[in-house]
């Protein structure tokens, strides 16, 4: 990879990587570190990217995602990354802005559900792209998205209009 190619890749993908890392961690500093480390991997091992296996964006998101999960494991090794049965209780919304409440709800999701919902809802990636970036089967991504949305509806129930469905805790 030549220097202009690298610069071009950086300018095209830095924002999506930063937003993803920020939403995953809730920290600007951690997001910056993650983006820097992601591009460092690309700079040192450009041959790891195979254009035949998908877009560069999915490849870079995959690297960032692995770095973030490693960070999560190092910091909170007692929390399981895969927690399909996790049920998140409603958030106490008193005194918080709506955006803060949403941020808290996203942060409260288990990591694999969180990454799926961030990539789908905020980065508008397809199931195939998410599956490629997260090295998962499409069915698994679908399942994580479904559970993430269920959890979000439950947590954000106070902000959502009632439609005949009760999203309270069990």
């Amino acid at each position: 990879m030549t220097d202009p190619d690298f610069r071009d890749a950086f300018h095209r993908h830095k924002d999506v990587l930063y937003r993803f890392a920020y939403r995953m961690t809730g920290s600007g500093a951690a997001a910056e570190d993650t983006v820097q480390d992601t591009f460092l991997v690309l700079w040192r091992r450009p041959e790891a990217y195979d254009p035949g296996r998908g877009a560069l964006r999915a490849f870079l998101l995959g690297i960032a995602r692995n770095l973030l999960l490693k960070r999560a494991r190092d910091e909170r090794s007692y929390d399981p990354l895969v927690d399909e049965s996790s049920i998140c209780p409603p958030i106490d919304v008193v005194g918080l802005e709506r955006a803060q409440i949403v941020a808290r709800a996203i942060q409260a999701l288990p990591p694999l559900q969180r990454e799926a919902v961030i990539l789908a809802e905020y980065e508008e990636m397809t199931l195939e792209e998410i599956a490629r970036a997260t090295e998962a089967e499409i069915a698994a991504v679908k399942s994580r998205l479904h559970r993430a949305r269920e959890n979000l509806r439950r947590m954000l129930a106070p902000l959502l209009e009632k439609k005949g469905t009760f999203y309270g805790t069990k």
């Binding site: 983006v35 709506r98 905020y122 902000l159």
Partner: protein
């Protein structure tokens, strides 16, 4: 994208906006790249503990073996030995002294 059949939830989620990467990131990523050979002077590698311990033990064993081997080796003899078995002292020693003054004549 996976269709989200709950537009209300989608609208609510979109209220959490995150701005793009800060300008400081440009310098961190684009400014800190160095030629590969600088890694030889400033880089570092992570070595797994078992491998590190094994390498240290191997180095210590090699060092001890080298030192003991050198201590055991006798001092090297001169390249050519001289035997005195055939040595016979001369009977009459007739010493002739030549002074430097004769040389001028």
């Amino acid at each position: 994208m996976e269709p989200n059949d709950d537009p209300q939830l989608r609208k609510l989620l979109r209220e959490w906006e995150v701005s793009g990467a800060p300008p400081s990131l440009d310098e961190r990523v684009l400014g800190r790249r160095r030629p590969w050979w600088q890694f030889l002077f400033t880089g570092y590698i992570r070595v797994p503990v078992p491998l590190g311990v094994a390498m240290t033990v191997a180095l210590v064993v090699l060092a001890v073996y080298f030192v003991r081997d050198r201590a055991r080796t006798p001092i090297a003899p001169p390249g050519k030995t001289v035997s005195l078995t055939e040595f016979r002292p001369v009977d009459n020693v007739n010493v002739r002294i030549i002074r430097s003054g004769y040389e001028s004549h």
